[in-house]
Amino acid sequence: MERISLGHGEGGELTHQLIHDVFIRSFDHGEQARLDAAIISSSSEQIAVSTDSYVVDPIFFPGGDIGKLAITGTVNDLAVTGAVPKVITAAFMIEEGFPIRDLKHIVKSMAQEAEKAEVKIIAGDTKVVERGSVDGIFITTTGIGAIEQSYLNPESMKKGDAVIINGTIGDHGIAILSARKQLGLMTNVTSDCASLNQLIQNILRRTKGIRAMRDLTRGGLATGLVELCEDFNSTMEIEEAALPIRDEVKGACEILGFDPVYLANEGKTVIIVDANEADLVLDILHKDEYGADACLIGHVTAVTEQTGKLKLKTPVNTTRRLSRLSGMVLPRIC
């Protein structure tokens, strides 16, 4: 099997071959691959920029791989601000000995996802490090998006606004745990890893009352909403019974002692919208492949001068406060 050697990262002939055989072939850089920097043009006054590094174990998991994740993650970060993702750059840290076949597979996933999301991968970098210095492959992507109308400012949130999610929570977290095979967990849950930019653009085009969106990744739904509440002085109440959670995910959480509101997602966004437009947003979502299980999970109950809180309505009709995830998600004893 062909493997990545330290020579592939030396900047010479091997590097040149790798870039040509693996990256350029997939990413369609065109003429620009010959320049030191990619030149882009934009007609919008404001642009959005986001960068993220991707490390995942295992690299290939049900529903995706690190390559797909490196595109969807950055695309979604841009999209939830209201930007239209346009271009992406990618930097690869590869461990010596990494199979080139796997690298090609990852790069192909990136190319496919980029095509689907209609973004161009325009620049990149490859470094090879000694065995043991990284775990297989790490990818960093930076995305640039155009703000065509105006960006979403969560400061516009108002009391009574609806909180909507585009589908089930915790799928990615449980899919990854199952794929690791460490916890003896066997499920058919696949990662929800998906680019949501077209869905989000569709919603933004057809509505007027979208106040904010938040891409839910590590830390889960609770952490994402707590950040919105705290950073923008709004208090929200969500209802436990309304949260969309797959039975397999619920079951896995029961066994391991996890709380689905803290499990990672990779294709989920919360949408804070004027309550009058909640039905319209749900309607748009339900017609989209990434919004079929969308539902209303709660409301903004107050916008105050002080730091806001996230509250959860329990099955016995009391409310309790939800905090950020503290530390790691760890399985319990019994």
Binding site: Q182, L185, K311, P315, T318, M328, L330, P331, I333
Partner: protein, 369 residues
């Protein structure tokens, strides 16, 4: 409706909660105070807080967390020893996730891991058997903490190591038994109680019989219960009805998993491999015959015999987890709670264990008022 949905169905829970409140009012009229019930199991503490039941019943029933969080009851000396063990060269220390954040005198397993100790979080002791096979050049030590729920799995891991002829696998036994600690608690007379919510998982192994002494010797009613809101409320209701009728029976309200006699297979293996010994509990000191260790015949799998760890007296801290475990202090009464002690910067185990009283209070009840 799936089972999970039925057991957390808001309509049923609402109805049950109202019934519990009615029964509690009757008790209050009769005795002039709230009924005081102890949930022995840490997972019950969590479930009661998370489901909102604790908050909902606050004005009607006093629910006190008992000594049933395995991580919390582990003595400080034992935690220090585990951290020391992880720092030995050539050792891979395997542990349940709950244990890693617990602060010892000077560090925690998580900090030790950051500093280079090879510590693996596993879900089952079996994972460490596989690790021992995969790393014949390393010593694999499993931190065997837990109650009767977990003990059979530890025993089966030892049996597996024996069958596979592994010489690089051992368990650091720090197990605890439920009945002796409940007896010690009642004998101390330190905390006033009217009844027990008895642990569901432990009872799967021990059966109903192990709690008979509660009613026979202490006239204390107990109900074995599950972990879903409907189950918890149903069992609280059954306790209150007993109190109202002046009965003190041990009832099994978790019948679809807990059998009268428990799990005879698990009991057989526990008897074969383990023997009772006096165990040191956080906050409670030495309790006679309250733990299980490997019999002499299996000493080669006993990490305490295999490795030398210096037992220095633990550093004195302001931690009041001991009182929490005995049920004489609540998180609200602890001066450290959410001030010096938070899940991110814990002073004691009750704040970081996934079954800890303070963790339950911090995550689920801080703003009930």
């Amino acid at each position: 409706m799936s089972l999970i949905e039925i057991y957390s169905n808001p309509k049923i829970t609402h109805h049950l909660a109202e019934e519990v409140i009615e029964s509690a009012k009757l008790f209050r009229e009769k005795k002039g105070r709230l009924p005081i019930l102890m949930e022995v199991c840490g997972s019950h503490t969590m479930a009661l807080a998370k489901s909102g039941i604790k908050g909902k019943l606050k004005e009607h029933v006093r629910l006190i967390a008992g000594p049933g969080c395995p991580v919390c009851v582990t003595d400080q000396k034992a935690i220090d020893a585990m951290i020391q063990l992880s720092e030995k060269s050539n050792v891979i220390l395997c542990t349940f996730g709950d244990m890693v954040r617990v602060p010892g005198s000077h560090s925690s397993l998580l900090k030790a891991k950051t500093n280079g100790s090879d510590i693996k979080v596993v879900y089952s002791p079996f994972d460490s058997i596989k690790m021992a096979e995969d790393h014949p050049d390393k010593e694999i030590i499993f931190l065997g903490i837990g109650f009767e729920t977990t003990i059979p799995a530890l025993v089966i891991a030892v049996r597996e190591a024996e069958t596979r002829g592994l010489t690089n696998f051992s368990i650091w036994m720090s197990t605890k038994l439920v009945a002796p600690v409940l007896r010690a608690l009642l004998l101390s007379g330190e905390v006033q109680l009217d009844g027990f919510l008895l642990p569901g998982q432990v009872s799967i192994v021990t059966g109903k019989q192990s709690y008979r002494f509660l009613s026979e010797e202490f006239q204390m009613p107990g109900v074995i219960t599950g972990f879903e809101p409907v189950q918890l409320l149903s069992s609280i209701r059954k306790l209150l009805i007993q109190l109202h009728e002046g009965r003190s029976e041990i009832l099994n309200d978790y019948t679809y998993v807990v059998k009268e006699e428990g799990n005879p297979v698990a009991q057989h293996f526990m008897e074969k491999y383990l023997t009772c010994h006096d165990e040191e509990w956080r906050g409670m000191g030495m309790i006679p015959e309250s733990g299980l260790i490997l019999k002499e015949k299996y000493a080669r799998f006993d990490a305490k015999k295999k490795f030398n760890v210096s037992q220095t007296p633990p550093k004195k801290t302001k931690c009041r987890c001991g009182e929490m475990i005995r049920g004489v202090l609540t998180p609200e009464e602890c001066v450290l709670f959410n001030k010096g002690c938070t899940p991110t910067h814990p002073i004691g185990p009750c704040m970081v264990s996934s079954e800890g009283t303070c963790a339950a209070h911090f995550h689920f009840m801080r703003e009930d008022k």
